[in-house]
Amino acid sequence: MATRKKVLLKVIILGDSSVGKTSLMNQYVNKKFTNQYKATIGADFLTKEVMVDDRIVTMQIWDTAGQERFQSLGVAFYRGADCCVLVFDVTSPGSFKSLDGWRDEFLIQASPSDPDHFPFVVLGNKVDLDNRAVSTKRAQQWCQSKNGLPYFETSAKEAVNVEQAFKTIARNALAQESDVELYNEFPDQIKLDGGSTDNRSSGSDNCAC
C-alpha cells in the first residue's frame, strides 16, 4: 500500500554577516523580531510545518554564520538541501556583491545533483531602512542573469514579504525534492501519494525518462 511520505524540506540561508538571516528565519517561523539577536556562531535550524499546494511539508530552515571562514566546517549540514536562500542587505552594496560568491560556495559545498536547476531564492532584506543602496532594478537584473531566480524585497523587522518569500522557497524546494526522487528512481512503494499529487509525479515521470 502506498502511504503518504513525510516531506522534509531542507532550506539553507546564506549571506554576509548581519544581512538579517537569523531575523528572517525567526520572523517566518516565530513571527517575532528583536534587535537583540547575537551574531550566529556555528549553525542552527528551526522547523515549521506548512501547507504547500495541499501538501503538509516540514521546512527545516538552516541559519548559518555569515563570516566566510566559518563556512567550511558546516558543510555536513548543507548536504541534501532542497533550496538555498541568498540574502543581502539593500543598504549594503557589499553584501549584494557577495551573492555570487555565496551561490558558488553553496554549489561547491552542497554539490547538488543538478546545479543548473537547483532552486535559489534571493532576498533583499531591510527595505524598512531609509538608506537604501541597492536598487530593485539592479537586484532583479542579477537574478535574471542567473536563470531568473525569484527575487523578494523583505523586511524581517516589519514582516514585509517574508511569508510570501518563504512560500516560494517551500514550493521550489518541494519541486526540487520531487525531482530528486525521480533521479533516484525510487521503487513504487514510496511513491508520494495515490491522490492529488499523483498527477504531478506521473507527469514528470513521463517527461524526464
Binding site: Q36, A39, G42, D44, A65, S111, Y183, E185
Partner: protein, 784 residues
C-alpha cells in the same frame, strides 16, 4: 548507473558506445541514456561489444581513463555519507562508466594490453574500496566451482543466473582451484551444524511454503592462501517442520552432481569477501543467516552446539557494523570487509604502487593474479561480462534493501555489538570528586602578597580559583594576573609601571586607526572590511545586559574601540566573529577601562587565537582532539556519533569557538573562564568539560537515537541549561579517571592531557610547596 552523475564527455561516450550520434544538450543526453539503461536493466544490452566506439584514439583514451581513475579515487576518499549519499552515487556512476570504457579499450599492441590490465586493476581496487563490491570475485568463484562440479567434486554455488550462463566455461581461476587442493588453515570447526535454507534472492523470487529438506554437516571456516571461506559439508539428512517464517526464501540451489538426490555431493562454500551481512534470530539464537553480495542467503542451525564460537570467529575475521535503519538497529550485522593480514601477495601488489596509500585486499589481488595468468582474449571477455554485471547492477540498489527488509521481517534485534575497531581501553571507575569550593576572597588574595606586593604562592591562589572561582569584587584585580597583564610575581611598583607603559602603548595603537581619514580608508579595503564587521557585531553583543543595553551606550563605543585597536595590534588575524563575545565580560569586569580591557583581551586571545584563523585549523584540531577524548571516555557515545555521521563533532563548534560564552549565563561564564585560565589540571580542561557535558547527555542522545541534525539541535538547546558546577566536577573526575588509566592510554590522549612522566615531575617540584600541598591547603580552607 546514475546518469545525472556523468558529465558531458562521459555521456557522449556512453551514447556513442551504444551507436547514438552526438547531441548538444546535456539534459537530452541524460534522458536518452537513462532510457537506454532502463532497457539494459531488463537484460537486453544495447552495447555493441564487438565494434569500436567511434572517435576513440587509444593513446588519449588511456590517458583519459587514468585521469578518471585518479579523480574517482579522490572522490571515494571524500565520501562521507552512506551508499545512498550523493558522493557515493557519483563515484559509483563514474566508476561504472570507467569500467565500461576500459572494457572497450581497443588493445592492439602489447603495451595497450598492459595499460588496460593496469587500469582494470585500479578499477577493481576502487570497486573493492567502495564496499561490498566483491561481487566480481564471487562471479569468478562461481564459475570455477562449476568447473569443479563438472570434474565431479560437486559444489553448490550461489549466483546470479544471468552471469553464470554467460560466464560458464570462459574462465578458470587459479585462486579457487588452489583453495580446493590446498590444505588451508582451520579457523573454526563444528560438527553437527544443519543448513536450513539456501537461496538466491532477487526481484521476482518466488516464495516457497513447503517443508524443506535440511542437512546436517561439518561447518568450518578455512583460510587458504588467497581467501577465507565458510565451508559446510553434509553428513546426514534431517527434516525440520518449522518453516513458517522462511517462506521468503527460494530453495533454488543447484546441485552439480550427476545424481540430484545424492546429498553427499552438496557442499557450501562462502567466500568471506563476498559476505554482505549476517543476522541471528532473536528468539532462536541457534540460527544464523548469512547473506552474500549476490543476494544468496544461507542459514545454519546450531542444534547441539553453541553458536557464539562461530560468531566470534566471524568477528575476528571481519570488520562488521550493526545496521541502522530509521534510527534503530535492525539486528542485521553488516560486513564491512575482511580484516587485513600481511599476505605476501598483498605486498608484491603493493609494489605496483597503483594506490600507494591503500593496502590491497587479498581477494582482489588473488583475482588479479588469476587474471594475469590467462590469455588476453579470455581476460577481455571476462571483464566485459563483469562490466555488464556492474552496469546492470548499479542503478538498482533495491535488491539489497529488499533482502535486508526481508531479513528484518523474519527476525528482530540481537545483542551483538560493533566490532568495527579495537576494543577501547577499559577505564577505572570515575573517582568521586568533592563538590566545588568557596571562591577566592579578598582577604586571602591580598594576604597572599608580601610587603612588596608580590604574590608569593601563585599555585595556591590558582588552586582556590580552580576549585571555587573568585569573588566578584576582586575579579577586577585577579583577572589581570590570570590573563597575563600582571606577572604573578610582580611588585606593586612594577605594576604601576606596567599600567603606565601599557596605557601609552594602547593609546599609540588606538591613534593609528582613529587618525585614518575617510579618504585613506576608501583605499584600504582590508581595514574597511574589519571595521565593518566590528561595527555590526558590537551592535549585537550582549545587548540584553544592562551594561550594554540602550541606544548610545558608552560601553558599546569602548567595546568598539578595544576591538578596533586589537585589529591594529594583530592586523593579520583582524576581527573575527566571536571575539566581541570574548571581550564583553572583560570590559565589564574592568569597569569599562579600555586599556586594562584591551591587554586582558590580548591575554585571552593569546590563549585562543587559533580558534579564529582563516583556515580554521585550530578549530579543526580542537574538534578532533575532543573526538579523541570522547572515544576514550565514552566509546558508546562515540560509536553512536560515528553511525550518525557526526564524529566531526561539529555540534560543539560554538562551545569551543567562544569557550562556552553562549552556553552559560553571564555570572557562570565568568566563573568558568576563571577556572580555565588557571590551566589546572591541564591546558585542555575545556575539552574535558565538553566531554563531561556530552557524557551527561549520552543516554538521551543514544536512547532517542538522535541523528546529525537532532544532536546539533539538542546541543544548541542546552544553552543556559547546563549545570556548571556539575560539569566542572564531572570533568575533573574524568581527568582523574584518565590519569589512573594513563599507561594504557593512547599517546595522543596522554599528550592532550599533559600526562607524561617528565611533566608530572615538574609539577611536583615546581615550587617550594608542592602542588599537592597546595591542593590540600586550598581544600582545607574551603571545607572547614
Amino acid at each position: 548507473m546514475d546518469v545525472t552523475k556523468l558529465d558531458e564527455e562521459e555521456l557522449s561516450y556512453e551514447l556513442r558506445a551504444r551507436g547514438i550520434a552526438a547531441m548538444n544538450d546535456v539534459n537530452e543526453m541524460r534522458s536518452v541514456l537513462r532510457g537506454l539503461l532502463r532497457i539494459e536493466v531488463e537484460g537486453n544490452s544495447l552495447m555493441n561489444t564487438d565494434s569500436k566506439v567511434p572517435g576513440v584514439d587509444v593513446k588519449s583514451e588511456v590517458k583519459t581513463c587514468v585521469k578518471k581513475l585518479q579523480v574517482i579515487n579522490a572522490m571515494i576518499d571524500n565520501i562521507q555519507g552512506d551508499r545512498y549519499s550523493e558522493q557515493y552515487r557519483s563515484a559509483d556512476a563514474k566508476l561504472c562508466h570507467l569500467m565500461n570504457r576500459v572494457d572497450k579499450l581497443p588493445a592492439v599492441e602489447k603495451r595497450d594490453q598492459n595499460d588496460r590490465s593496469n587500469l582494470l586493476k585500479g578499477i577493481l581496487f576502487l570497486m573493492r574500496k567502495m564496499e561490498g563490491m566483491a561481487s566480481n570475485t564471487s562471479v569468478v568463484e562461481t564459475n570455477t566451482n562449476q568447473n569443479d562440479g563438472a570434474a565431479g567434486a560437486g559444489t553448490v554455488v550461489l549466483y546470479e543466473k544471468t552471469t553464470t550462463t554467460e560466464m560458464n566455461s570462459t574462465y578458470e581461476s587459479a585462486e579457487s582451484t588452489a583453495s580446493d587442493e590446498e590444505v588451508g588453515t582451520e579457523y573454526f570447526v563444528q560438527q553437527g551444524v544443519a543448513i536450513k535454507s539456501l537461496s538466491k534472492l532477487h526481484k521476482g523470487s518466488k516464495s516457497h511454503k513447503n517443508a524443506e529438506t535440511h542437512y546436517t554437516g561439518l561447518l568450518r571456516i578455512m583460510k587458504y592462501r588467497t581467501a577465507k571461506f565458510i565451508e559446510w559439508k553434509p553428513t546426514e539428512m534431517s527434516i525440520f517442520p518449522d518453516v513458517d517464517e522462511w517462506n521468503i526464501v527460494d530453495t533454488g540451489y543447484k546441485q552439480n552432481g550427476k545424481n540430484k538426490n545424492d546429498r553427499s555431493n552438496i557442499d557450501i562454500k562462502i567466500n568471506l569477501a563476498t559476505m554482505k551481512s549476517y543476522k541471528m534470530k532473536k528468539h532462536k539464537k541457534h540460527q544464523i543467516s548469512i547473506l552474500q553480495v549476490n543476494g544468496s542467503l544461507v542459514t545454519f542451525l546450531f542444534e547441539s552446539s553453541p553458536i557464539s564460537d562461530f560468531v566470534t570467529a566471524l568477528k575476528t575475521l571481519l570488520h562488521t557494523e550493526k545496521e541502522i535503519r530509521h534510527h534503530r538497529p535492525t539486528g542485521v550485522i553488516l560486513v564491512l570487509g575482511e580484516r587485513q593480514d600481511s599476505d605476501p601477495l598483498c605486498q608484491s601488489i603493493k609494489e605496483l604502487k597503483i594506490f600507494p596509500d591503500q593496502p590491497p585486499t587479498s581477494t582482489v589481488w588473488s583475482f588479479i593474479s588469476g587474471f594475469q595468468n590467462n590469455p588476453v582474449e579470455k581476460t577481455y571477455e571476462t571483464f566485459a561480462k563483469i562490466s555488464d554485471v556492474l552496469l546492470t547492477r548499479t542503478p538498482d540498489t533495491r535488491p539489497d534493501q529488499e533482502v535486508a527488509e526481508l531479513l528484518n521481517r523474519a527476525e528482530e534485534d540481537d545483542e551483538y555489538t560493533m566490532v568495527d575497531h579495537p576494543p577501547p581501553t577499559v577505564l577505572p571507575p570515575r573517582p568521586g570528586i568533592k563538590s566545588r569550593g568557596n571562591p577566592l576572597d579578598q582577604t586571602t588574595f591580598y594576604q597572599s602578597m608580601n610587603d612588596e606586593g608580590r604574590i608569593t604562592n601563585e599555585d595556591y591562589i590558582k588552586n582556590i580559583i580552580f576549585y571555587g572561582g573568585c569573588e566578584h569584587s576582586i575579579r577586577h584585580e585577579v583577572w589581570k594576573y590570570l590573563l597575563g597583564y600582571y606577572p604573578w610575581n610582580s611588585t606593586r611598583e612594577q605594576r604601576i609601571n606596567i599600567d603606565k607603559q601599557q596605557k601609552t602603548e594602547y593609546e599609540r595603537m588606538k591613534v593609528q586607526w582613529m587618525n585614518m581619514s575617510s579618504d585613506q580608508i576608501s583605499r584600504f579595503n582590508m581595514y574597511r572590511d574589519r571595521k565593518s564587521l566590528i561595527d555590526k557585531d558590537v551592535y549585537r553583543t550582549d545587548r540584553t545586559l544592562d551594561f550594554y543595553a540602550g541606544e548610545g551606550n558608552d560601553n558599546l563605543v569602548k567595546l568598539h574601540n578595544v576591538l578596533m585597536t586589537y585589529v591594529m595590534y594583530n592586523f593579520d588575524l583582524g576581527y573575527v566573529q566571536g571575539m566581541s563575545d570574548l571581550l564583553s565580560p572583560i570590559l565589564m569586569i574592568m569597569n569599562s577601562d579600555e586599556v586594562e580591557s584591551f591587554w586582558c583581551f590580548v591575554g585571552f586571545m593569546n590563549r585562543v587565537n587559533t580558534n579564529f584563523e582563516l583556515k580554521q585549523t585550530g578549530m579543526k584540531k580542537q574538534l578532533n582532539d575532543l573526538h579523541y577524548l570522547l572515544t576514550t571516555v565514552s566509546p558508546k557515545l562515540e560509536n553512536h556519533l560515528k553511525k550518525m555521521d557526526s564524529s566531526n563533532m561539529y555540534f560543539c563548534f560554538r562551545w569551543l569557538l567562544v569557550l562556552f560564552k553562549r552556553e552559560f549565563i553571564y555570572s557562570d561564564i565568568m566563573r568558568l573562564w576563571e577556572v580555565l585560565w588557571t590551566d589546572i589540571p591541564c591546558a585542555n580542561f575545556h575539552l574535558l568539560i565538553c566531554v563531561a557535558i556530552l557524557d551527561n547527555e549520552k543516554d538521551t542522545i543514544i536512547n532517542e537515537n538522535y541523528g546529525l541534525t537532532e544532536i546539533l539541535k539538542h546541543v544548541n538547546n542546552l544553552c543556559e541549561q547546563i549545570d556548571l558546577d556539575k560539569a566542572l566536577t564531572t570533568a575533573y573526575s574524568i581527568y582523574e579517571q584518565l590519569k589512573q588509566a594513563q599507561p594504557s592510554l593512547q599517546d595522543s590522549v596522554n599528550e592532550l592531557l599533559g600526562f607524561s612522566i617528565s611533566h608530572s615531575e615538574t609539577i611536583l617540584s615546581s615550587d617550594s610547596n608542592s602542588r599537592e600541598d597546595d591542593y590540600e591547603k586550598a581544600l582545607s580552607m574551603n571545607y572547614t
